[in-house]
Every structure is written in C-alpha cells, then in structure tokens.
C-alpha cells in the first residue's frame, strides 16, 4: 500500500498556535490504529486556507478538512485515515482558487530551456497560426477571445491588431511594453524571468497577425535578469528558426531586438516609449495619430504589454471560445496581481476576472498580516485609487474598478490596514508623480506639484478648510488638460482617498489629528509616569537623545528635541509612552 500523508495546520488568527499539539494528537491516534505504518503526519507551514480553524489536508489527492475540532479526530482516523471515506461535513467547499493561464509555466519549467517550453505546448500556437490560419483569422480568434490589454487601459487586443493591420504599408512594428514602473508591481518581470518564450511567441504571432516583420522588447534596465532571459530566449529561437527568415519553414519572417529603458515611469506610456526607442527624449506626444497609424519611425505599430503577449499562445492553442469562457461579461480570462503591502502572503496571484478583491486578499493572500482591520486596497499604482473595505466584495474587472474610482492598471495591489493614513498614501503617490512627470505639459508638471504641496501642508497640520475643494479643482483640471495618461490619472490617488476617507482629511485639517499615527508633525509623545517602570529602554534607544532623566527622578521627553520617530513607543514594554 502506498504511503499517505496528512498535512496539519492550525489556521486560527487569534490565540496560540496549536499545530504542534494537534499534529501530535493525530499522530498518536493513528499510531494506535491499523493504519499506523501507512501514514505520516506532517506539520505544514502554510496549508492554503486561512482563519479556518484546524485544517487537515490529505495527500496525495485527498480531501481538505476545515475547522476540525479535537473531538473530530477519532472520527477522522476511523473513517478517513483507516476507512478511506470522506467526511462531507468537514470537507472544504470551493473557495477562490488561483487559475494559472499566464503563469502556466512560471515555476514549472526551466526558463532557459527551449525544449521544456516546447514540451509544455510551446510554439504550438505559432505553428497553428502560420500553417492553419490567415492573419485575419488569427485576429478573428482574438475577437472571439475577448482578450483586452493588460498594460492598464484594457483596450481590446484584436482591435489594436486589426487597426494596425488595416493601415497600408509594408513596414510595421510590434513592441512589447516591459517598462513596468508602478510601485509595487512586478508581474511582468516575473513572467519574463519565468517564461520568456511565451512572451516571445505571443509577439511573433502578433507580428504575423498585423503584418509586421520586426519587433522590439522595451525593458527597463533595472530588470537585468529579465533582460538576460529574454535575450537567451531570442537567441535560442533564432538558432532554431523560430525567428528569422522562413519561420518553421513558412514564408513568414520576423526579427526581434531589445531596447533598454532607463527607468522613467513616463516611458511606459506608448508614445513616450516609441520616442525613447527612436533615440529621442522619452516624452509623450498628443494622440491621434495613434501608434497603430503612425508609431515607431512613423510606421503602423502595435504596442502590447508583457502579460497580454503571454496570453496570446494560450488563446491560439485553446481557442478564443475557451478563453472567453473565463472571466466576466466584459473582462475575459485571468489577471495576474502582485499582492503586497500588509497582506500575509505577498506574491503573485493569478485569478479569473470576476473574483472579488476580498477573495484575493483573504482566501488567497491569507488576510492582513498584523491581524488588524483592513482599511483599503490600492490598485493601479499611481494612476489608480484606493478601494475601501466596504467595497471589497466587488468582482474585479476593468469596468468595476473604474466605477470605484480606481483602475485595473497593470496589476499592482497594495493591501492597507488601520496603520495606513490615507493622506499619507495620497502624498506618497503624488510624490512619485512629481518625480516622474516629464514636464512637457503644464497641467501635469504644475498640477502634481501643487497637489503635493497641499497634501504636505495637510499632513503637517497646516491644512486649511478650503484645501479639499482646491484639491478637487486641480485634479479636475489635470484630468481634462494633461497630455498623457500620467497627468490625466495622477490625481486618482487623491480623489479616491478624498472620496472615501474625507473624514480623515478633515481630522488632519481641523483637529490636527492623524488617526493612523503616520503624519509625524501631528504627533506628540510623552511618558506616562504612573506606568513607567524606569527600565531606561526609551532612554537608551532614542536616536537623538531627546529623553532625559534617570532612574531616581524618572524619564521625560524633551519635545523640542524629539523627532517623533516612535522608537520609544516601540521599545516600551509597559505601554508607558503616550502617543497622541
């Protein structure tokens, strides 16, 4: 008989971890059963379920039991371990699961081995396109699939290809946008590092569909490993005739080059990116004409995101209808999110469109790391906004996120808890945009700066009552008048925090209070003498010697020296530091 394994984990959020206790108990009961030799009880570090009491997972292929009590253990051993029967009352019902379409090969294959990729159906889509489909039929398949661009705006991929194809001209280009510059986002990097051939294959197919013979990867120089791996993939493809003239024996020719970006956020914007490839300063220009009409070197150009391209081979091999079966009415397929911030399991998550934010954060992400209450989830980076706790049951798709005042963006998702101040968050993103604004148009150059100055003022306790209206006014002007997406969306972090958390703004302005204790200028620290045990920890740890006194007279914080770093508050074991 094959050996069985039971993973054990106490997933309760509160209280002491009883994993060891339960695992020991279960092992002892199994020891005394007829199955003694055939089962190993193993303590898991993570069992894929959170806040579900004691969880048991039977391997290989067995059920998962949730909220198992000590009293259940006899039954579990008798019925499941010995008898091989599933206890339906304990078995986990379907919770949100990841679905790996884009990340199908990430972590599975060796990204530097072309044959491993081919064995996982790699370059099957390209063969099919070249030998079984006309370019128009390829585009038709993508129309059926409903695939939309993953770079932020969600433009239908088929339409972009169709438009680029329709423009007359023998010289056309495909560009892969791998500039990924949103703080907290790294989906594209991981795809390029973990499965470069899928992106390359997607790009070659796009070239075939629109009638382009040349492609460029535009990758930021901060991604050396991604550059190395995509470079190797290109070399391998060239050696084997997957790139070059007469690809796979067909009459299609395609070549690819890599261009490195210097890490300017604005160079992710398509017209700025094109300027950068042309060797010019990376600033946007007004559209129209769109790149599909006049792009790189003035030629029709389709520019697509890394994740968009990684979807392409799957749509071709499994069919547009299959792809359209995943997701919501208007947003098809899956989306990869980089879930970071105060979440327990930070990392990459790929889910079908339509899963709720709450499912992503709690069922997959494991909830808030600190156990504190979740305050909001930020999506879309500097172009996006915060979505408050009471909207987390919204199914994720392009339209829904926009309705909430945020955007899907490229897939950054930052979890925020009670310790995050919404004014501070808005300030962070605006600071980013001030740095990254290219300065070409006034609404963005001046608007971001003015927004930041007002936010700084509010966080320093100098806010004025008319500031909130002023923020809204500037934001509106920027949305309407900025040249590119950077300026048009840069105010989203301000507007969404203001929309959902106006009371927090008002507290800062009127009561000079920051409820998350983030805005330093609004805080005062003092020592509560009745609680102080005179252990000297604050005195020893203060980085600026702002605490005076000794064990005889007690310790006192000199407010004129205090930099409000919070170190004393952190190190005091007796809650004797007051923070107001």
């Amino acid at each position: 008989m094959d050996k069985k394994y039971i993973l054990v984990k106490d997933t309760r959020r509160a209280g002491s971890n009883q994993t060891e206790h339960f695992a020991g108990l279960l092992a002892a009961k199994i020891q005394a059963s007829p199955a003694a030799e055939a089962v190993q009880v193993v303590r898991a570090a993570d069992i894929g379920f959170y806040d579900q009491g004691l969880v048991l997972k039977f391997l290989p292929g067995g059920p998962v039991y949730l909220n198992v009590s000590e009293a259940d253990l006899d039954r579990v051993v008798r019925e499941t371990v010995v008898g091989g029967r599933v206890l339906e009352d304990l078995a986990a019902a379907g919770t949100a699961r990841q679905l790996r379409v884009v990340l199908r090969n990430c972590g599975v294959i060796n990204p530097e081995n072309l044959e491993e990729y081919i064995r996982r159906d790699g370059y099957r889509a390209l063969s099919r396109a070249l030998f079984e489909y006309t370019p128009d039929k390829v585009i038709e398949e993508f129309k059926k699939s409903g695939l939309r661009g993953r770079g932020g705006a969600g433009y239908p991929t088929w339409l972009k290809w169709h438009l680029t194809r329709s423009v007359p001209g023998a010289e056309k280009y495909v560009i892969c946008n791998a500039d990924e510059g949103d703080p907290g986002a790294y989906m594209d990097r991981s795809i390029l590092e973990g499965d470069p051939h899928s992106v390359l294959e997607g790009m070659i197919i796009a070239g075939y569909a629109i009638g382009a013979n040349h492609g460029y990867f535009y990758i930021r120089a901060e991604y050396p490993l991604a550059i190395e791996r995509i470079g190797k993939a290109i070399e391998q493809a060239r050696e084997r005739g997957l790139l070059g003239t007469g690809i796979l024996g067909s009459d299609f020719n395609f070549e690819v080059d890599i261009r490195l970006g210097a890490g300017a956020f604005v160079c992710g914007e398509e017209t700025a990116l094109i300027a950068s490839i042309e060797g010019k300063r990376g600033t946007p220009r007004p559209r129209p004409p769109y790149p599909s009409v006049s792009g790189l070197w003035g030629k029709p150009t389709s520019i697509n995101n890394v994740e968009t391209f990684a979807n392409v081979p799957v749509v071709m091999t499994r069919g547009g209808d299959w792809f359209a079966g995943i997701g919501t009415e208007k947003s098809k397929g899956t989306k990869v999110f980089a879930v970071t911030g105060k979440v327990k399991n930070s990392g990459l998550v790929e889910v079908p469109m339509g899963v709720t934010l709450r499912q992503i954060v709690f069922d997959i992400g494991g909830g808030v790391r600190s156990g504190k209450k979740i305050k909001a989830v930020q999506t879309g980076g500097p172009s996006g906004g915060v979505i408050p706790e009471d909207r987390l049951d919204t199914p994720v798709d392009y339209e829904n996120l926009q309705k909430l005042g945020s955007i899907m963006g490229s897939g950054g998702m930052i979890v925020m808890d009670e310790d995050d101040c919404m004014v501070d968050i808005a300030k962070f993103y605006l600071g980013f945009c001030v740095e990254e604004s290219c300065g070409k148009c006034a609404p963005c150059r001046i608007g971001t700066y003015q927004l930041l100055k007002i936010l700084e003022r509010i966080s320093e306790g100098e806010g004025r009552s008319e500031d909130l209206d002023r923020l809204r006014l500037i934001a509106q002007a920027m949305q309407k008048a900025s040249l590119c997406g950077l300026g048009q969306t840069a105010s989203n972090p301000v507007l969404s925090t203001l929309n959902y958390f106006e009371t927090e703004y008002r507290e800062h302005i009127q009561a000079k209070r920051c409820r998350s204790f983030k805005c330093r200028d609004l805080l005062t620290y003092s020592i509560i003498q009745s609680k102080c045990k005179r252990c000297r920890q604050c005195f020893l740890n203060c980085p600026v010697q702002a605490i005076s006194g000794d064990r005889e007279v007690g310790f006192y914080i000199q407010l004129d020296k205090c930099i409000k770093c919070g170190k004393c508050f952190e190190v005091c074991k007796f809650n004797a530091i007051a923070r107001e």
């Binding site: 894929g48 290989p60 990841q98 070249l130 084997r240």
Partner: protein, 116 residues
C-alpha cells in the same frame, strides 16, 4: 544549428520527458534576493556527492514571494511538495529526510490552493 520545422516541434512534444525525480529551485529575482543561489548550489553539490538519482533544476517564480526561497520536490513514492524559506540547514533536511529517508519535513511545507 539545425533550424526546426513544424514537425520537429511535434517530435519534441511527442518525446515525453523521462519520468524522473527532480528538485526545482525558484531562481527569479525574488528567489535570488532571498538566497536561492546558495540553496541551489548546495542541493546540486549534495545530490552529486551522495550520488542520488534526482535532477536539481532551476525554474522561475512560483508566485509565493513571501516564502522564498522555494524548493519544489518530486520524489517517487512521496507527494510533490513545495518547501518555503529554505536555507542551507533546511536544504540538508530535505536531502536527508525527504530524499534519503522518504519522509516529508515538518514545519516548512507551503501547500497552496491553486489549480493548474
């Protein structure tokens, strides 16, 4: 190097990989930043030193960045599992317990809810 045709690709796909045991180490930026390179080198050398019939491979990011470095093990007779936050000491335990004694190592398995 020989250029491939469509049928060459079909041949590669048809030639299934031999059904052998492997250890994969996640070696994307997140893994490397957390120390995956040292783990990979240790496993490769240790497996060679002991002459174990298992291949040590590199792969991309599995997605569970918080638990890097991640090591996935497929050894005949045991379920395929992922160990997280692997350091040299844990890598040694994986070799000794998982590969040699055929027992899963407690406290380090990260069992994620995902579908392929």
């Amino acid at each position: 190097m020989k250029k491939w045709s469509k049928s060459d690709l079909d041949k590669i796909r048809a030639s299934r990989e031999p059904d052998r045991d492997w250890i994969k180490v996640g070696m994307s930026t997140c893994g490397i930043a957390a120390g995956a390179e040292a783990v990979f080198e240790y496993l490769r050398d240790e497996v060679a030193r002991r002459g174990l019939p298992i291949e040590v491979k590199k792969c991309g990011c599995l997605g569970m960045c918080y638990a890097e470095p991640l090591v996935e093990v497929r050894a005949a007779g045991l379920p395929q599992v992922i160990y997280g936050q692997v350091n040299r000491e844990l890598a040694r335990l994986i070799v000794e317990n998982h590969l040699v004694e055929k027992k899963l190592v407690s406290d380090h398995i990260y069992s994620f809810n995902r579908e392929e």
